[in-house]
């Protein structure tokens, strides 16, 4: 009797494996190497394969510095991935180069996406079609060193720009030689400050950094750009709160406990979590006098490669559906620490009340996403703009005008 069961079991197993191997589909998923991201994706793939035993997902990773080049080169050899992760700012290039295909409208209706996700996903939309969806998003916040705040007798983080300046002055410490021991706020245009200037300060001074579709630079159309740069550069020149280049990088200064405040993104949580020497907290970016708040949000989206077709495309769509689900977002939040891209998954009470995630999440509804055509080159124009004021004492208005002209040229060249 037992033998019969065994035989039945074996033959059933054989049938199942034969059936699954007959319809087995293998797809490739690409992303760059970052330990927790790879780990989270491994978990997601495991869950997905359990639910879809006929689909196998192979995760392929590359170092970040190589990542874009690899995708482009693989695409030229027609060996591109079925599903890939890409920075939203690469979308234009990837669409023009026919590296990714639009998401099928029946599985991913645009109206539903816009209802369920944070508005920043629209950066992946071209001509009414979505080309990718994020699992997680990132935003900026003010990190502050609680120990230094306590020493200086300040209760909590600054809520307005005026408070930022005032607290910064109190927190900055110089030695007898006049050199900074501790800065009030880090000044690091090459870090996240250029995003802060572009999408936050310019708007808080009453301006708009770009036109609607980010084809025109508008921060020099009125005085807002210059006022924003003046505010930024005055943090050193007038108020002496910090200095560019202090401890090489803003995040390094904060980690070392030599900066009372720094503006950085969600992605920094992983490295700041190792800090043991002091307590730190996170706060929303300061508002202006009228209470205007803004933020810069960004994300890596998942998209379907242009080479996927037939049953591989079907499998790719299924996989993409899963990795942009609420469940996947919760896994991503727990393993990577990045914020869920869906409102419902993100705005849970537990998440909103979390002292660390809360301030980042609160910013998502009012955050902006700059549509870069060449992030590195555009960042460079902002770095140079600040340096012309810091190092060469160029009048802020002239420097902003020069930056606007350079950035417009970059955008123009990319859109030809």
């Amino acid at each position: 009797m037992q033998k019969h069961f065994l035989m039945a079991g074996i033959s059933a197993a054989a049938c199942i494996s034969a059936a699954s191997s007959a319809s087995a589909v293998e797809i490739e998923y690409w992303q760059y190497i970052y330990e927790t991201r790879v780990e989270a994706m491994d978990q997601l793939i495991e869950n997905f394969e359990e639910a879809n035993p006929d689909i196998t997902v192979n995760q392929v990773t590359f170092p970040y510095a190589d990542y874009q080049t690899r995708i482009v080169a693989a695409n030229m050899a027609r060996k591109g991935p079925d599903v890939m992760q890409l920075f939203y700012g690469w979308a234009d290039k990837f669409i023009a180069g026919n590296l990714i295909q639009p998401l099928p409208e029946d599985t991913f209706p645009a109206a539903q996406i816009e209802e369920e996700f944070f508005p920043i996903v629209s950066a992946m939309k071209r001509d009414g079609q979505y080309y990718g969806l994020p699992t997680a998003v990132r935003s900026l916040a003010l990190f502050y060193n609680k120990d230094l705040f306590e020493e200086a007798g300040i209760d909590g983080p600054p809520e307005t720009l005026d408070e930022l300046v005032e607290y910064g002055k109190q927190l900055a410490v110089r030695n007898d030689a006049g050199n900074f021991e501790t800065v009030g706020l880090t000044l690091d245009m090459a870090g996240q400050d250029h995003q802060w200037w572009r999408e936050v300060l310019v708007r808080q001074m009453g301006g708009v950094p770009y036109n609607e579709d980010y084809t025109q630079v508008t921060y020099d159309d009125d005085a807002a750009g210059a006022e924003a740069l003046e505010f930024y550069t005055n943090l050193q020149k007038k108020h002496g709160i910090g200095a560019p280049g202090f401890m090489d990088e803003g995040q390094a200064a904060f980690r070392a406990g030599r900066a009372a405040m720094t503006i950085d993104g969600t992605f920094r949580l992983g490295s700041f979590n190792d800090i043991e020497d002091f307590e730190w907290g996170v706060a929303e970016l300061p508002a202006n006098d009228e209470g205007v708040q803004s933020n810069y949000a960004s994300y890596f989206a998942n998209a379907i490669g242009s080479s996927a077709e037939g049953e591989e495309l079907e499998a790719a769509v299924k996989f993409l559906e899963y990795i942009s689900s609420d469940e996947a977002m919760q896994v991503w939040l727990e393993v990577v620490g990045e914020l869920p891209a869906r409102r419902e998954a993100a705005m849970t009470n537990a998440n909103m009340n979390d002292p660390i995630y809360g301030p980042f999440l609160a910013a998502l509804p009012y955050a902006h996403t700059t549509l870069f055509v060449d992030e590195a080159a555009q960042r460079q124009t902002a770095i140079d703009m600040a340096n012309r004021v810091f190092l060469q004492d160029q009048p802020v208005a002239d420097s902003v005008a020069e930056a606007a002209e350079q950035e417009q040229a970059i955008i123009g060249a990319a859109r030809d």
Partner: protein
Amino acid sequence: MVHPTSSDTVPTHPVQPAPRLSMRARSALWVWSFLAIPVLFYCVIRFYPTFNAFWLSLTDWDLMSEAEFIGFENYRRMFADPNFWQTFRNTFEYLIYGTPISLLIAFIIAYYLDKVRFAHNFLRALYFLPYITTAAAMAWVWRWFYQPPPTGLINGALGELGFGQIEFLGSTTNALPSIMVTAIWAGLGFQIIIFMAGLRAIPDTYYEAARIDGLGDWAILRKITLPLLKPTTVFLVVFISIAFLRIFDQVYNMTTNDPGGPLGTTKPLVLMIYETAFSSYDMGYAAAQTVVLFTILLVVSLLQLWILRDRA
């Protein structure tokens, strides 16, 4: 009994040998069959891409879409770009200051090191050490040396001694010389070894004869050492110049936050090419910049060989 084959037979009556290649032709065949691999390698890996770069410089290739011929548009754009001229000037600053300073320091050290007997090998190894160290690692160490207080070693020492602070990498005027110093230091070890080999190759008899004739150290240096060292010097001048024209590692690693900065004052051509190609993916434009760099390298090398040629 096995019948001997014809080749084994002793030619009692001469058999006409099969038409064979002459000794000369055979050795040529051998030589070429051995050379075939490196020649093929060079053609495929070196020359083909080089010529391809010339072609690419006339296109608008962006790695993703098909390359389209656009004539000399990339060159027109380049010559109208103030950033290009800035990097052009920077590159020549590295070359014009870097080469003679390197050469002079290397010679002085080699000249005196050659006379030192005490711990000679140890000292020589010490000088050679930076040359075999990874450029990136050295660049980062120097980067930290140059930091403003409280991290920077140099500024820290200056502060202790009561001097004012110096902005090294954060200044538009000091950054380039600061980086150049590290590049000079890194290359010195090799140049010293080459100079010492050159010095050793000069026969002692010349020096002995000079001493007997009563020549002083200065005269010996001027009349014997330097002229006989000329082939070494020529080699090093060309070698160092090419190295400075291609400077990249030090600059890139010391200015990663603002590559080639501040305000582009340290950016050499190679870094500009790298950014254009692998950050902006503007391959056609990058190829045009590469062609310019290639031309500069060629002209500078030929010019030096011509200037320093043996007039005899």
